[in-house]
Symmetry: C2
Subunit: 514 residues, 2 copies
């Protein structure tokens, strides 16, 4: 068999079930080999930023890596911004990037570029395969590297001659080390802190934000009165009625610091010390006030859920029921849609088990408070600050969880970066209801303009922050890519459209002008 | 003044007239400074691949660099694929990429990444500025580096504190060296070759493909019977009735070799030895047959037009009139639109001085033969093989040449990578008629599948090469971004729509289903 066949068959045997792809000539032998791997779902994206974000969404919900298939340096480059986000989400992804055969590289043909240099900044593992016999082995090494907890980006560069040459051999999956455990000292110390009864915040990440880890955190919160927080960027948070309350750290640096001023202790469970996205003249990057003492329960690499479990046992909270939010239905208010009322409508109608993707930016500020008591759901956000992830991230989550509805909330500015994801939603018939919150501007930048002390933008500067001239007609854009869409102006209309979207079982788009 | 102000004012004073931008928080001080530089036209792109390709198009036609303004690593990353193309086009571009202040970098905030590592592969000059006083100086150094003939990509990384701190000083433009001249020996040798009268092909690039250089080449061709060629990737070629005939080298390696078999000599005037885009099992990468002797008149870095002028004088052809194509009007054929008839319609209606952007891929194969005798026009193609350049490249050319009509021909697959360019066309009211040649597939990949000896794709593989399920409705997509659009099915309809597009003086889009 050729190298391509051995790679694909080895990945299939190792349990890989999804390949998000935008291949080119150099990857045709791999495409051909995918023909005979029916257990791998191949999902085409019309732009590589869709491909990499979909792999991120898949990994967040499936808890295991998908493959991407990308065309040479430029194909990888188009996917880098969302690999940046995936890297910050700490999810596993195996990129497979085609390359010219070695003998062709010396001619510096038009599509030649330094793929390794482009891959390195966002790949924790990277290798250029050297032969057909190596290709599957390298693929298995990359898969194992990607799977190291909590998850890594691995990039396998596959020269076309390694793919097309005979001599490929099926390779076995490699062992993946478990996440290391937190130290007994760290657990004892945090336990003694929590026993003081002084105000404590626990900043959770990774597997502490869903499943057993979250419930354990809820038991600890319930027993000790510690408050649970998630960082502003959220890879995956399970929340809603009956689940422990986890508040999100504010984006705004002053608000974040002000929140932490209420606590004597900040305990990091898989999280880093919270820092601001951006630096502002004369202001600190660190959001923790000096009055708040920071302690590490578990690092980003350690098993957070296990650390919480150990802490729970140490505190003898393991029989305590976890804290649980009451069910709240905000109701559908009458009248015009606003950022507050749209959040109430969503909070009221959210079906159980929905995967909510939130890149609604400034228009989404009421979303979390209005959905805290909604039916239980997962909540996923942009993790790296590179906007343009919501719709393709939704694609990946829907492929990972075909039985669950997905609600994708995107700002208009963010949505335009990767709108091609709508086409993939239509092609794959994915159960995704996309809501575009259109305020016709990069509103966050207008705020930052003020926050940086630059004042109010003049007309020329403002023209770079406003996207409403011409106005973007999302109903037409969605229609152009095969997704049924409508514009809604009242809460009742929005509620109806949302219900129809959830009930349809397929993709739809709702535009809201704010 | 602050660093941002000094940078922007220095660029304006140095004659920079266009800035293609998609800024974020880190670039707000530069945006603010642009407010007071009315001689710089600021053009917003909703995606960075639009921004960099527009800068490429601008440079190809204006012959000088525009600036791009990009947000941190991810913003640059989104622009890399079209910087790859620009790099291959050998055009000047000055990228300005924001960066966190140095004191913020150590916190590894979500948007932090290794910008230098991402910039290096496609930048011939790169510098991270270290202070307000350095920023304008570095900008002038970058501008000069970009302007080194034939053109380079320069990337200035501007930390936010360098932009916002006081101490900026206006910097003067730096001297740019002229392109070196070809050696007397090379000119004498080529002259003696051409005097033999044996069949010779001259492969022209750079400034030999338009203006005085092209006319000189035409005189030489006319006098010596040498045939003029352009490489398959064309940065800018002036052609049409009354101009010298320049044939494009075929994409297909066998066809390219077969073309060159007709010649005893291949003379490179600013071109490289032609090589295949891709490598195929058992086939050579070099397209020149052994029977064809290669000689270099001028390298890529040397002044081609001057080398041709010197050659012309040596051959005493300077009084000979250049070769000139006769005017041909293919006429508008009756009936259904095909790849051949659409080219005839274009060949008939092309207004004088049109800038034709061609990324029509497999559907455009009749375009060059059917427009060889059209009214004089410039012809620009994808130069680096990273598809998704046509529409944003058109944006840049229209900004560079507001008095000239632009005809943008894009395949449907290519167009989807950077469709956001349509919005910029609408916002800026650019005189661009876009024609989408929709065959609902990555047809080139189906051919390559065969060319690589992989056979015919099965249904799973084919699904990664077909984009017609769901079909993409370009009329809706254009409408969604404010560009008037229609679908045409007959030659007469297409001719009418094309005329209306050219007459409108603004943007329009025509979809053709093939």
């Amino acid at each position: 068999m050729n190298g391509a066949e051995s790679l694909v068959q080895s990945l299939a045997a190792a349990g890989m079930e999804a390949c998000f792809a935008n291949p080119g000539t150099s990857e045709m032998h791999i495409v051909e080999a995918l023909e005979r791997a029916p257990s791998i779902r191949c999902v085409l994206g019309l732009f590589e930023g869709v491909v990499t974000a979909a792999a991120d969404g898949y990994a967040r919900m499936a808890g295991k890596p998908a493959a991407t298939l990308l065309h040479l340096g430029p194909g990888l480059a188009n996917g880098i911004a969302n690999l940046h986000n995936a890297h910050r989400a700490r999810v596993p992804i195996l990129n497979i990037v085609g390359q010219h055969p070695t003998h062709h590289l010396r001619y510096d043909a038009p599509l030649t570029s330094d793929i390794e240099a482009l891959a390195r900044p966002h790949s924790q593992w990277m290798k250029t395969s050297t032969s057909a016999v190596q290709l599957a082995r390298d693929g298995m090494e990359g898969l194992a590297a990607a799977s190291i907890p909590p998850g890594q980006i691995a990039t396998l560069i596959a020269p076309a001659d390694a793919a097309w040459s005979e001599g490929g051999e099926i390779a076995r999956p490699q062992l993946v080390p478990c996440a290391p455990l937190a130290s007994v000292e760290a657990i004892e110390q945090v336990a003694s802190i929590l026993r003081t009864g002084l105000p404590a915040a626990i900043l959770l990440s990774g597997n502490a934000l869903f499943g057993q880890g979250l419930r354990t955190a809820g038991r600890i919160a319930s027993f000790t009165n510690a408050k649970l927080f998630a960082p502003y960027p959220i890879t995956r948070l399970e929340r809603g009625a009956g689940l422990p309350r986890v508040d999100r750290m504010p984006y705004n640096p002053e608000q974040a610091t002000s929140t932490l001023k209420n606590f004597r202790y900040l305990i990091l469970a898989g999280s880093r010390v919270p820092v601001s996205y951006f630096s502002y003249p004369g202001k600190s990057s660190i959001q923790v006030p000096e009055t708040c003492e920071v302690h590490v329960l578990a690092s980003e690499q350690q098993d957070c859920a296990a650390a919480l479990e150990a802490l729970s046992i140490t505190l003898s909270t393991d029989k305590v029921p976890p804290s649980a939010e009451p069910a709240i239905e905000p109701g559908v208010p009458p009248g015009e849609l606003t950022t507050v009322t749209l959040a109430k409508v969503i909070g009221t109608l959210l079906p159980e088990n929905t995967i909510v993707i939130d890149e609604s930016m400034t228009s989404g500020r009421s979303l979390m408070p209005e959905t805290i008591g909604s039916r239980p759901h997962d909540f996923l956000t942009n993790t790296g600050g590179s906007i343009g992830i919501a719709m393709p991230l939704a694609v990946g989550t829907a492929v990972a969880c075909p039985q669950r509805p997905v609600l994708c909330l995107s700002a208009d500015g963010s949505g335009m970066y990767t709108l091609q994801a709508l086409w993939t939603m239509a092609r794959e018939g994915l159960n995704i209801t996309t809501v575009i919150l259109a305020n016709n501007q990069y509103a966050v930048l207008k705020r930052e303009f003020g926050g940086l002390g630059v004042g109010t933008p003049g007309p020329r500067a403002a023209s770079l922050l406003e996207i409403g001239r011409p106005s973007i007609d999302w109903v037409s854009l969605a229609k152009g890519m095969g997704v049924p869409a409508m514009r809604t102006t009242s809460n009742e209309e929005f509620a109806q459209a949302l219900k129809r979207g959830f009930d349809s079982g397929g993709p739809s788009l709702i535009e809201i002008q704010l």
